[in-house]
């Protein structure tokens, strides 16, 4: 383009053109476009940052440092007076941490009368070995008096140090493990006794105040119960409600009110549902606190509007010709809907349901109010038992101060995100596979 003002030479051989600022306008155009790209990149950048920060902090949670040493199940310590035949409590209450400590001390060559040394050794192994060794002995009492090679859980700080999460360059007073312990750690590692193993415990263990023994097992069961309740209640109720509103309801004030109401319920803050659950289910109906039943009911109420909106869209998408054909062949209205319209709308309904479930799975706030922030270490057997949920477990761990819990929290988030990814991918595949364009 020629800019007349800036190139007087052009005036001579070309007819005069008005300056319409085309360069400026094109610059503005490019700038505007760049803003768009910048905004999009900003959003995607933070998506990447978020995922990267979670994964980089959390992938180590799926590994656990173990100390593999020969453990002598000394009868002297476990059952000095040989009472185990008469008193079954004896094996449950024996001092297993001492057994583990002695085994590690022996591997390190710490003398048995070196009290300070033994205490330092004891700090290197997790208190979780109590349960670990107890379970071994109770399952097979014959091993008392023998020596077995066992992989003992290392303490959280040793675990963090071995994974390189504790800066060992700072002075000894400012970190949680001593130089002596670092030396032992290296000594054990050179002997091949200390190393990282796959951490199955994070999937099956209950909550624990010790990061190395804490897992999301209870939370997974609780979340599973809740999802089951949400699915069983919200899918039939949601579908029934949408069928009525979409196919049968007369257009009057009342149905209009229900419509507006459902749209509003979908936008009510989730914490309000928690208050509802607390006041109605726990205070009024006297259902147990912390139970996954109450959690499931609250999440059902929260998910219903989502499912209703998705189902109505799916029903609307079925063309009227299908209905006309069925009615024309003599089917009743009910038969038309249940035999023809509903099956054709099913992929859309299921997609909406899965997305609603995924949302419910990640919901935390209402569950906090109905008491699911309980410290639950035992597996719930029924939905009435105290339980916790995966996102609530994440919240509880996020509030823990210990360094090793940051890793566990990120690990739990990875598990949660994996579930969500599976559900959402499933929904997308379902839509791709079955959705019909009319």
């Amino acid at each position: 383009m020629t800019d007349v003002v800036s190139s007087p030479a052009g005036v001579l051989d070309k007819p005069a053109r008005r300056d319409i600022g085309i360069k400026r306008r094109y610059r503005a155009e490019r700038r505007f476009r760049a803003y768009g790209i910048a905004a999009l990149s900003f959003g995607l950048l933070f998506l990447a940052l978020l995922l990267w920060s979670v994964v980089s902090k959390g992938y180590t949670a799926f590994q656990q440092t173990m100390i593999t040493v020969p453990v002598e199940f000394s009868e002297q310590i476990i059952d000095k007076d040989n009472e185990r035949a008469t008193d079954p409590q004896k094996l449950m209450t024996a001092n297993y941490p001492i057994v583990a400590r002695n085994a590690v001390a022996k591997a390190l060559g710490v003398a048995e009368n070196d009290t300070a040394g033994l205490r330092a050794v004891n700090q290197m192994i997790s208190n979780g070995v109590r349960g670990q060794l107890r379970d071994m002995v109770v399952a097979n009492p014959q091993i008392i008096g023998t020596t077995q090679t066992v992989s003992l859980l290392a303490a959280g700080d040793i675990d963090s140090a071995w994974k390189g999460q504790i800066n060992l360059d700072v002075s000894e007073d400012n970190r949680k493990i001593s130089d002596q312990q670092v030396g032992w750690m290296k000594q054990l590692a050179e002997a091949g006794a200390l190393g990282k193993h796959l951490n199955g415990g994070i999937f099956v263990n209950g909550n624990s105040s010790r990061p190395e023994a804490a897992g999301v097992g209870v939370a997974l069961i609780g979340s599973f119960y809740m999802m089951l309740i949400v699915l069983v209640l919200s899918l039939p109720i949601g579908v029934a409600a949408s069928i009525y509103l979409e196919e049968f309801a007369p257009k009057n004030r009342l149905t209009d009110l229900i419509e507006v109401n459902i749209n509003n319920l979908a936008a009510v803050p989730s914490i309000v549902y928690g208050l509802l659950g607390l006041a109605v289910f726990i205070n009024f109906m006297d259902l147990p606190r912390s139970a996954s039943l109450v959690g499931g009911l609250v999440l059902t109420l929260m998910t219903l509007p989502t499912i209703i909106i998705a189902t109505r869209a799916a029903l609307k998408a079925v063309p009227p010709s299908i209905r006309a054909a069925a009615l024309g062949l003599g089917a009743s209205k009910m038969q038309t809907i249940f035999h023809h319209v509903l099956p054709l709308a099913m992929p859309g309904i299921l997609t909406g349901t899965i997305i609603g479930l995924a949302h419910a799975l990640g919901e935390t706030a209402p569950l906090l109010l109905i008491g699911m922030v309980a410290f639950v270490a035992n597996y719930p057997t029924t939905p009435m038992d105290p339980s916790t949920a995966l996102p609530v477990q994440i919240y509880m761990w996020a509030n823990e101060a210990e360094r090793a819990f940051v890793e566990r929290t990120s690990g739990a988030i990875i598990i949660l995100l994996l579930f969500l990814i599976v559900m959402n991918v499933g929904a997308i595949l379902l839509r791709r596979r079955f959705e019909r364009r009319w």
Binding site: L40, P391, I413
Partner: protein, 495 residues
């Protein structure tokens, strides 16, 4: 029989009824289903419905009514001196009787005899069975508990009998009505239709439940604390709920600092989300090639699928410390003194992370609205020589403005109701100040902190959460209704 067992029996009975009814209908028609008014399955379904629905209704009514009746009878049977006590005291006694009754179910007859009338021994025996008692039971409590157990047993037996009888009667009565001209389908469809109506009324019931439950509890709260002190109070200092202490009214429950924090954090979040979301939407709907769009749009929507607790954790462990450290560096370079002026938990941290969470809401809502602007408007503008950006700025956006404003209002209501990010990243100090680098707190944070841990439903410290909840509900409801109103009005213009 226990309730689940009765339900199971009813379910099996329903299947039997369905099969029997279907066969009967076919037999009456002489094996030719064309002689029947409805298809044979409807006759079976009719019998099954008649057998189970009234029976189930009786069961539900009984389960609700009988404990009420039994409890009031037991309560009437309390000795006079107990009745003279306060409500709370009577409640405690009643709880004791309840646990006693539960415990005596566990004990065998011999054990009850062995313990006899000695309350301390009874308590020990029950404790061994895993039913702890709050105190030593008094003799009248033991008697009451015995009555309670006896009445519950009778009630259960009568209920089982009545429910099963109703089921049998329903099945019998409907069975004899089966005839070729009987309109079974119409009956069954009527039942189905009423089930559909029932399902859709749940939405209304939920809303009523939300409003009623919160109004009642908030009403209790306003009975203790005057409403104007709550809505216009500028100090939030609820103190702790001291059990039984009369000092409960010492706390100050001012909504203003919480509301200020909520709006401030929401404002910061919108400051991040609105430009980024809008420009992303414009770029994706007007500029991007279908390929870029098909990748970028779902990716951006992943942000909406991530649970808010994950954002909260991200704010707590990554964004907060990063802002704190970077502020220390900046301060250090500017003044030579390395001190952070941004707190790790601050309005900025919470607002920024919440803004990222809101980007997909803004972008996908506005994307839909921008795409809905008719092609002809764009073509007209481009044909007159406007550049694309000018078309967007001068033609598309003004046309889409009402819808976009509606979308922004909906997003704002999300920002106000958001909980987990602010719980983890905004801090708990209820203060009124304007520095975005300092922590502030929000309505949702206080609802959570007032309601976690042990609670009793009598102290204003607990009840205030419901007053906060109803405020939150009212604000978001107004925003949403207004947004819906704008969006609906806008739609009418082009359709």
């Amino acid at each position: 029989m226990s309730t689940p067992l009765i339900l199971l029996v009813l379910a099996i009975f329903a299947i039997v009824c369905y099969v029997v009814g279907t066969r009967r209908a076919l037999a009456i028609a002489g094996g030719l289903s064309s002689r029947l008014h409805s298809r044979q399955g409807y006759y079976g379904a009719f019998v099954a419905i008649c057998a189970t629905v009234p029976a189930a209704a009786v069961l539900v009514i009984w389960l609700i009514a009988s404990p009420l009746y039994i409890n009031s009878t037991i309560h009437d049977g309390f000795p006079e001196e107990v009745k003279a006590q306060s409500e709370a005291q009577q409640g405690l006694s009643f709880g004791m009787v309840n646990s006693l009754a539960r415990g005596m179910d566990v004990l065998t007859l011999e054990e009850i005899d062995a313990v006899g009338a000695n309350p301390a021994e009874l308590r020990a025996a029950l404790g061994a069975k895993g039913v702890p008692l709050a105190g030593d039971p008094e003799p009248w409590m033991v008697a009451s508990a015995g009555d309670l157990n006896a009445m519950q047993k009778i009630s259960n037996r009568v209920m089982t009998a009545i429910v099963l009888m109703v089921a049998l009667a329903g099945a019998g009565l409907s069975y004899v009505r089966i005839a070729p001209r009987f309109r079974a389908r119409n009956r069954v469809e009527k039942v189905i239709l009423s089930a559909l109506v029932l399902a859709s009324s749940i939405a209304i019931v939920t809303t009523i439940g939300i409003v009623m439950s919160m109004l009642t509890e908030a009403g209790h709260f306003f009975g203790r604390v005057p409403a104007w002190e709550f809505f216009f109070g500028t100090v939030w200092d609820p103190r702790f709920a001291a059990a039984g202490a009369g000092a409960a009214s010492d706390g100050q429950f001012g909504l203003i600092p919480l509301l200020a924090g909520t709006l401030y954090i929401g404002f910061v979040a919108m400051l991040v989300a609105v430009p980024v979301g809008l420009f992303s939407a414009i770029y994706m709907s007007e500029y991007a090639s279908p390929r870029v769009r098909s990748i970028a749009k779902p990716l951006l929507e992943v942000l909406a699928g991530i649970p808010t607790i994950v954002y909260g954790f991200f704010a707590l462990t990554s964004v907060g410390p990063f802002l704190r450290d970077i502020s220390a560096q900046i301060q250090g370079i500017a003044t030579g003194e390395y001190a952070n002026f941004i707190q790790a938990q601050s309005v900025l941290t919470a607002g920024f992370v919440m803004g990222i969470m809101l980007i997909p809401y803004v972008s996908s809502l506005s994307d839909d609205i921008i795409t809905a602007v008719p092609r002809a408007l764009r073509d007209g503008s481009l044909g007159l020589g406007a550049t694309k950006s000018e078309t967007i700025k001068k033609v598309v956006m003004p046309a889409a403005l009402p819808g976009v404003v509606g979308a922004l209002l909906m997003t704002a209501s999300r920002a106000i109701g958001e909980t987990m990010i602010v719980v983890l990243a905004a801090g708990v100090a209820a203060r009124m100040q304007l520095n975005p680098f300092e922590p502030m707190t929000t309505v949702t944070v206080k609802i959570v902190s007032q309601l976690t841990g042990d609670l009793e439903f009598t102290s204003p410290q607990t009840l205030v959460a419901f007053a906060l909840g109803i405020t939150l509900f009212a604000i978001t409801l107004c925003l949403n209704i207004y947004a819906l109103f704008i969006v609906r009005k806008y739609r009418e213009q082009y359709e």
